[in-house]
Subunit: 493 residues, 2 copies
């Protein structure tokens, strides 16, 4: 193939006069691609700019601009008096062009063992759902967006450039102080604000804990059924996670001690067991704290939705019984505000704070200071407490309606007890032949977003049940939705 | 000690009438603490509510409220006709009270090996700085806060509840599309939006790459001097990071091949080497791509500040030469907008996208969808490009002033060449007896926030130099700051 005719392939290029990209950029991209793809090898001569301009119906300046840029980039080179040629781009001939989207990563470029371990994680399933009866989703339409937006604007406009930088590792003191006040008022937890690390949601707090405290193979006691994403966080770094059953007082430490002695860490949801909703008895709490003290292990207290209690006052957090600095308390704003905020916090013994802050910095840097400052103001202005109070009353009402609707329509299908806390209740299937997963799948098809209890089980063999979130279901729709669900389940009998 | 007199210690309690906490809550907290601390053992009788109310000078209802709550919590119990007693809280006697802030974590509760490995990381040092001459910090006072705030408000107020949930794993398609357009226009990178993962900044992208692709002990080639936080990200998961020198064409692949064959991953900053500012030659790029192709390894292209080029147009990203799906391209909004935004992106071969999304979900869930949507609108409205254009012109001007000031005042102290890209230039110390770290420390004391080049070195033994960020220094101050710095350095001679 003579050099000139190779270059002639340029004259067949299609340029798009309506594109956002100027013509010289289009031409430049096209030539670069042809060179990279090896269609014009090193040394091939390009058409004279006048000729190519004529062939393409563009101005000569367009072609000259494109050539000059490619010369700057070393894709092309000019030889005085001889013309423009493809540069010495590589000793090796490049492979033929392939559309990137059709390129698989080579087999030997495989995932790490860690990545393979989590690739089938169930916690990623259907993450985005916010439809009625989705457990754990707040009443998003009730969020005071205008107050939040104007607080955010004030922070951006009036606090100068202070909050546009990375901010201090571990978070803004202003937000730590606001959280310290909140957990003292709501949860009886007394902390120095400097014990708090602001995280990108509770999940990041779990990951920081696993990263900072667990070596591969370290034993972790985990509730079964339990918080799937929390369990995945422990797995991320190779922990040996042991599933421990739940009895009517909560986490069954006696089974754990008998079966899997000497854990490094115990992961608990004592206020409102996730997903069963049991509140751990005081005696059980004391027993676990004593064990942790005598066996030198950490306790993670995941206090994910304890702001929502409808009868009596909540038990204070286990953290307030800790006089040895062994409890790591994790809180979240996903339930009290909205999940898409991606803010949570970790309360740790003072000597551990720096290690967690360093780990967070290396994993993702800080949480946005603008966001932190907005939340701090929102709390300090009283908007946070006002919203929690309003939602507590609303959710209590929704819970009543859901419980009454279930009692009225579905008593023969499910047994259930009215929860006194949280954002969902569990309806247990009376018919032993039904499995909760296919039942839920049928309910999903009817536009209702419940979850099967078995999804949260590792080895536990418990009754088949359905988690129904009442917090995100409008009052006037709940009974109709329960009736719709009732019809779906009856259809499966 | 008779029971009654133990209980009498309650009468010495101090309640604070001016506290935000109501008196019954204060009393309740105090009694709970006394019980937890073991000062009143199981079975101890509490004073009658009437008596305690009198001793404390509070109403009887206050005491009754506190007692009732503590009975609910099982800390206390009532025996009809006999009074109120400390409950059976634990078989084991609790340890005496300790102020939490004085409690060290026990020695055996030590950090994981991983956490120890990073505990001395240099990348956490002085993270928050935004003072003049801080390298890599944009002109924060020029950020269009009002436009951003009003875009954010519109997203919150007009897009319903869609963006308040967790959002889709890997990010919002709308933002991916906006980024795909941006990188095509600015960097010549042609991607399908579905190849993009939205991350909480570039650092999270590096962490996802290390987590997903590297097993402990896997070899990584890293630039030396190089991006400290990027190197730390590779270290996080136990990679064997090998430092490779930089020559005047960039990353010295010949040294790498000779010294450390067969890496799993090569980490590069080809557009503008971090921190030296060298643009990698096209020939070197081709050579590295060929090597990666024939040896089946990944290339990370960290394209952190390539939007800022002041002379000529930038070389297109290496990513656009990749026809085998081996390049992972990382971009950031920390330089073009502001670091506290905490948004970046990873462009990956299609088959790898899911693995990265799963890893991100388990590490911290998604990036806030409200934030993503705000940025997508900001880009689509043209505000992003307008800001980049404005900053490019401003930074070019600031670079001129800095370069001229250095030439005018410091030619005998430093040698330097004017950079044609990025946000900082390097001034090399002529005096061989000076070390850049103590020189920088003295400059810091004068309120100027430069960084020493040696901080970025692992094994490299290069000249001693100072990185001077021109982007965050107001035009009218630059010459004075350079003169101040000049005086400080002369004082050290």
């Amino acid at each position: 193939m003579p050099r000139q005719s190779r270059g002639a392939l340029l004259s067949t290029l299609q340029l798009d006069a309506n594109s956002r990209a100027p013509l010289y950029r289009q031409l430049e991209d096209a030539i670069r691609r042809i060179v990279i793809d090896g269609e014009l090898p090193t040394g091939a001569r390009l058409p004279a700019s006048r000729q190519l301009a004529e062939d393409l119906g563009v101005s000569r300046l367009t072609v000259k601009n494109a050539y000059e840029q490619l010369v700057t980039e070393q894709f092309l080179e000019t030889r005085p008096g001889a013309g423009t040629f493809v540069g010495r781009i590589s000793a090796t001939e490049l492979a033929p062009a392939v559309e990137l989207s059709s390129v698989p990563a080579r087999k030997s470029l495989s995932l790490s063992q860690r990545a393979n371990r989590i690739s089938q994680s169930r916690s990623v399933l259907r993450l985005g759902g916010t439809k009625p009866f989705r457990p754990g989703v707040p009443a998003l339409d009730q969020f005071p967006s205008s107050i939040w937006a104007s607080t955010h604007s004030k922070v951006l406009r009036h606090s100068g450039t202070d909050n546009l930088g990375y901010g201090p590792p571990g978070g803004l003191l202003e937000l730590k102080q606001a959280i310290a006040n909140h957990v003292q008022d709501h949860r009886g937890v007394r902390v120095d604000p400097l014990q708090i690390i602001i995280t990108a949601g509770a999940q990041q707090a779990f990951v920081l804990i696993a990263f900072t405290l667990l070596n591969p193979g370290d034993r972790v006691w985990f509730e079964d059924p339990g918080h799937i994403a929390g369990r995945d966080a422990m797995h991320l770094f190779g922990a040996d996670v042991k599933s421990v059953q739940i009895d009517n007082e909560g986490f069954d430490i006696n089974q754990a001690v008998a079966s899997y002695p000497d854990p490094q860490l115990i992961f608990l949801t004592p206020s409102h067991q996730h997903p069963l909703g049991i509140t751990m008895s005081l005696e059980r709490r004391m027993q676990i704290i004593d064990y942790a003290k005598s066996h030198n292990c950490w306790i993670v207290e995941d206090d994910y939705d304890s702001e929502f209690r409808y009868q009596g006052r909540a038990l204070p957090a286990m953290q307030c019984m800790d006089n040895q600095g062994q409890i790591l308390y994790v809180g979240s704003f996903s339930k009290t505000l909205f999940p898409g905020l991606r803010l949570g916090y970790l309360i740790a013994p003072p000597v551990m704070v720096e290690a967690f802050s360093v780990a967070q910095t290396l994993m993702s840097q800080n949480v946005s200071p603008v966001l932190q400052k907005t939340l701090a103001r929102f709390i300090d202005d009283g908007a946070y407490n006002a919203h929690i109070r309003k939602m507590r009353s609303l959710y209590s009402h929704r819970l009543d309606i859901m419980h009454n609707s279930l009692s009225k329509h579905c008593n023969d299908l499910f047994h259930f007890t009215k929860t006194d806390a949280g954002m969902h209740l569990v309806a247990w299937l009376r018919d032993r032949k039904l499995s909760d997963q296919p039942v839920c799948e049928s309910i999903w098809d009817a536009g209702i977003d419940c979850l099967p209890v078995s999804m949260y089980c590792d080895k536990a063999s418990i009754d088949q049940g359905i988690m129904l979130g009442f917090s995100c279901a409008p009052e006037h729709e709940i009974e109709n939705l329960i009736m719709r669900m009732d019809r779906v389940v009856r259809g499966l009998l």
